[in-house]
Symmetry: D2
Subunit: 444 residues, 4 copies
């Protein structure tokens, strides 16, 4: 790292509406994390958004008075040269693709969501080849740089990067652990610092296995509080369907908001079908939100992150990214919940697979804490999603229709091999443009 002269950060998908969060994160941490250059990279289709967001970023930096250079470019290779950290937050196919990921499965009575089930698979198929290409470029242009990915489905994407890329400095980040920590602290009426949670599982399949308040275990109390229908922990993009309190007690560990997809499949599906009818799937809502956000960003007097951004759902995503970058840079050795190579941390999951666990973040990167065996009652579901992620990643890399069909059929949200085939064919066709490896040969 050429850190003596300050840090060079490259953000791929820099035209994202989230970018002001990231910029704010770097500004707030400037004292400990002196970013010299922030390169916002996007593709031709994102040129306009990149300019809007980029100019906003420049205003933010100016207002803050920090000597951080903002570079805007469509030339990814030039940006990657000698980077110290690369963050990725792209959406291949933009929000229109997300609309399809959500609506097509629902048309066939299946849950439609961009990180789970059929939609999650398709997002993975589109995204993984692009990220592998970036990792390959990094291996050449900035081999010592860390790739910090927050593109979903982060579990499958990290799995693919760890297994199929030579560039092994890869970390997947997500805002779910932070949200859980914050929500649980609120439920306990305690400052977050007083609350310690052991986290283990996969991305969007994360469990808080033990919760401590001032060093005393309070997991049972937290589960009781979460069982109260008035105090639901959730995310902007997940309906706050209440947990069955008896089940929560029996589960014995704290589920993450996304676990509703698996333990409340029926209710989630009903709720989604309702939104589907009303043209109010999450993608459609987000499209409107984004439009209004970009309208705001265009305002040349705006030089701070607008409060409206929080509704967007990715709150704390950039905090997660900034924190891991700062801890590596400063050798902080603090504990963060990250997607990394398992290497034996969770017993029974392949050493080379991605897991989301509490890690110590050192200058050499994150080291997972030893988790040991997951509680028996959650082992099975975690393994099933891991099978899905591994087969899905293989499908993305090989462009194999059969592997994609296999991944979809073994997904617990998909209830039939024949139905899987129908939905898959429709989704592949709809995303044809972004799936070159599936279509350059006659796979169907």
């Amino acid at each position: 790292m050429t850190t003596q002269e300050g840090i060079k950060i490259v953000t791929i998908g820099g035209g994202s509406s989230y970018t002001p969060e990231l910029v704010e994160g770097f500004i707030n941490r400037y004292d400990e994390l002196p970013v010299r250059e922030l390169w916002l990279v996007d593709i031709e289709a994102g040129r306009e958004k990149l300019e809007i967001v980029g100019n906003m970023a420049k205003r933010m930096v100016k207002k803050a008075g920090v000597p951080m250079e903002i570079h805007l470019t469509l030339n990814r290779s030039m940006a990657l040269q000698n980077a110290d950290f690369v963050t990725t937050q792209m959406r291949v196919g933009l929000l229109d693709a997300r609309v399809k990921d959500e609506r097509i499965p629902l048309q066939h009575g299946l849950i439609g969501q961009e990180t789970n089930g059929a939609g999650g698979l398709l997002k993975g198929l589109r995204t993984i080849p692009v990220l592998l290409e970036i990792a390959e470029e990094m291996q050449e242009l900035c081999p010592d740089a860390w790739l910090i990915n927050f593109t979903n489905p982060a579990g499958m994407v990290t799995e693919a990067l760890l297994r199929y890329s030579k560039h092994d400095k890869v970390i997947g980040v997500c805002n779910v652990p932070f949200n859980m920590h914050m929500t649980i602290s609120k439920l306990l009426h305690a400052d977050m610092k007083r609350v310690h949670i052991n986290f283990a599982g996969l991305n969007h399949m994360l469990y808080g296995t033990n919760v401590y308040l001032d060093g005393e275990e309070v997991t049972g109390r937290v589960l009781e509080l979460l069982g109260n229908p008035d105090s639901q922990m959730t995310m902007k993009n997940i309906a706050p369907l209440p947990w069955n309190p008896r089940f929560l007690k029996a589960l014995g560990v704290v589920p993450c908001p996304y676990h509703r997809y698996f333990y409340k499949t029926k209710e989630i599906l009903e709720e989604e079908l309702e939104a589907f009818k009303d043209g109010q799937t999450r993608a459609e809502i987000v499209k409107e939100l984004e439009d209004s956000l970009f309208a705001l960003y265009k305002d040349e007097t705006l030089d701070i992150k607008p409060p409206q951004l929080e509704k967007r759902g990715g709150a704390y995503y950039s905090d997660a990214a900034c924190n891991v970058i700062s801890s590596i840079y400063n050798d902080k050795k603090d504990i963060q919940v990250l997607n990394v190579k398992n290497n034996g941390s969770i017993t029974g999951i392949d050493d080379d697979s991605a897991v989301e666990v509490s890690c110590v973040v050192t200058k050499q990167g994150p080291v997972p804490l030893t988790i040991g065996e997951l509680p028996v009652q959650v082992q099975g579901l975690v393994q099933q999603i891991k099978s899905f992620e591994r087969v899905g990643a293989e499908a993305a890399v090989t462009g194999s229709y059969d592997k994609a069909l296999l991944a979809l059929t073994i997904n617990p949200l998909v209830s039939s091999d024949d139905l899987a085939e129908v939905v898959l064919q429709e989704l592949l066709e709809a995303h044809k443009e972004y799936l070159p490896s599936f279509f350059q040969k006659s796979t169907i």
Copy 2:
């Protein structure tokens, strides 16, 4: 073993309509397996059936001219004294309980079946305490005897016996592997001896990982043949819903008939709901079959197993039991597919858990062959069912309502925690009489 004087076998649930199969099995093997005494044991409620079947058994033995004594008794302890092998084939609550296991879940839109999902759990909760009691008695009265269980759900039952009983000479048997071997041989137009299949998984979740014909691998060919809708492999109790051929090819290993519950959930459910409406669930059909079988058995001129028995669905169950008994007795060291302690055979499954794998059967009992890692695409589902079986077994042993709710909610055939609670409460109430440990304390 007091084998010098011939073998003593005890069959608990001796009044079952299957018993003539077992008796025929012992008669046919008399030369290699000289059964001196066969004790048919039943409970008061089964006294009449025991007498009908027992007399039929006596006629069969007489007709065959073998010196096998048939004893009928309601006194289990007396029967167990110095037994060499004990087989168990009981149905706690009789067929009426099975009707409830099937119909109650269907009333709530969930699959109703006696070995999977909600029905399977309830059958486990009723059966496991009785089998643990038998194992405890064996430990005292015939500590060297093997317990050969073919009571369903055999996976969960064997799990419970291996984990919670001191009597560790326990084997679970099932007719699925034999049926798969036979069907695949037929598809290949080959004698069964020419076909060799590596089997691995759990009970009713068994995969043929490799199929060989005359030593040459033909797994791909078999999957192609099975993908033909005209050549479906199934069991008497499972609708022969055709597999999606593309999925089958992608799966790469041969699923068992019961896998339809997981890979064709939607279709199975639709088919069951149809039967439900018509009062033609499997239990209801079996009830009629049993009535007509017992009518036949009453005929004092009948002294061979009637061909009608085959429709009953358990064909080859008793072959499986007779074969394992004979191989232990004769130290045959042949390969059989049995439910035994994993002990490292399948990587990633707890050493102390039950698995269904190819074993070498020696005088010291079955030794599983080394399987290693299951293919990634099936690992997840197998682990999920294993989690269900382990939590279900714990619920049965502890009488814990919470554990039962947990087991049900994590079952992939149950789509909601709230729905699980509704169905569980109804099922527990319906089977109250046979669930003393759940009701002696105020658990609900």
Copy 3:
């Protein structure tokens, strides 16, 4: 923990010559670790030393001006009442026993040392029953207190405590990791803070698997420096025999000073036999050192730790203990190298075994970092010592002569079953008084 009123610490073996180190450690950390009461406990045979050291401790506290109460007692149970932390540093049989541990094996041509080989086994056999008794008392009198053990052989002792005691709040500490860190930093001419080492292995069988300077890996450079005969890393009690530089390079990881016993067995033995002839084994030297230390401690004007203590060999032992206590108390989440339950941290070692690895120390105790597979070239030796520790711990707990003979014969420093028996019988006889479980029944 009744921490609002300050911390209660109990030091068993309080009459040790090391105690001033510990007292100094608590004084220096008083701001972050307010010790209210320090109870020094010893046995009748140690009464005089306890008084000498205890009075010295009182003078040290007074001089420092911290409100720490020093209590001296022979009544262990009274001391343990409501303790927060218990440290153990006893020597069952005192230094005379160590003389035997060292000299008897050497009489038979075997290495004599108090933590390895025959001497280590015998020290374990004497010590483990006493520590298990303490743990049992703690379970009753201070169930939330941590037992911080620095009695050798710390590996076998921690193994025994983790496996055979219900009190699972147990940590083994050692000064080897600190010494390695310090020595390597000196070799690199760098402040310790700039040097980061990943540590993994067992007690006195610890490897530095990677060394980083300012975040850059320098393991190869360190091995080259250590191969220089003029820059040997060692401990006070281990002769600084130079490593073969080519071997060190090939080993690829940094061995600890005690590894000389295994990779330089021949040279160590020759060196010990020399000392043996001269009556200058380590125990004999230490006896003299202790005598002169206690002579110093008697001086009522001495109120600081005398510099001579450093020669004693246990430098930084008490630092290790104070640091872990402070990190638990303050929830520091810093990284320390401790003996804890493996729980999957090192692949291939039993989950329930003790390992010495880098841990994050939280308010809930230490959590090992995930190590994964040890490099193949060191796996075997680590496993062999682990087998020795496990069988040795079992011998200590059961008082089984056969298990003791087994442990000794499988130790790589013992070259013959017959010789093992001769040496074992002589050692058992010599330590008869301190091995009640071996002699109350007729085991030989």
Copy 4:
């Protein structure tokens, strides 16, 4: 396999004095194993022996009246064309090399033996590259053929073939398991068929974990019998040094004769040093034996295997090879003890490593039985030898001096890094001619 026309077998090292055993084995099994062609292959240096042994083989076949063609050739590639089975029994460097393997370590006070310690390593370094070359040729010329290796050190050689060759149809055979089975049966005064032994470990580090007589466990009795100094189980090449009976009882499993190297190192070394002084190391004795054997073979009237061959020490080696070939050919599914890929059979040993365990031998090759965890008291030693074998195999493949030094130093029979270097340099120099990969670059 072109088995319709009979089997083609290729024996590399066909000029070995053992070949008549192999030929006798094929003659005796002709009915079940119709060998059409047996190709004896040797190198130029072995031409004369090949002719002598080959002619003897032809006379044996003629006398037996079986239609087996014997082909003698120095053209290995021609011989391998379309082979069904290839057996390898070569000695790179002939017996002169063995003399060096034995005498050079002894000159430095280390055990000298051709499968253990320094001698074993050097034999591995010479042999492995040749076997990898053969495997590569097979992959091209007879990809479906099994390579049955009985060249020592069979453990390290099989490890190397499994890890570094694409040709994965590899089996290592050894006569130790048969000898143990036979000796134990004799001790029990029982026919071998009545005795069943579970075998597990590594080559020349094999344990009988349980012994059964007529189905009843008699392990304890066998250990007692083996503890009797008059009834020692050993091999022709290992001095029958008596076991310490108390140690044997404590060990709890039956060691193999070679375990004396590790549990009686001192006595073995003393005995070898005696033989060394007298010029009577095993290699020297074998040279004389071989000379007299070849003198016999030259006798054109000799047409059966002469009884003198048994003294040579490899008795039953060829039985082991013939048995595994016949079981594969006939799909016998019997149990044999073979060196195969672990794949999870023994817990804690790498999946890809070679282990020696009881296997079921099917037409698809051997499948190891599930062993699970080795008893704790033997785990460590087994792991240590496995580390030695893995590092040694890597040294052989890479020609790395450093890896060779590492392998030698971590071997438990070598007591010092410096001594290892001295002995290694002398051995490498002595075997220079057969170690091209070590000398073509400047490694020392």
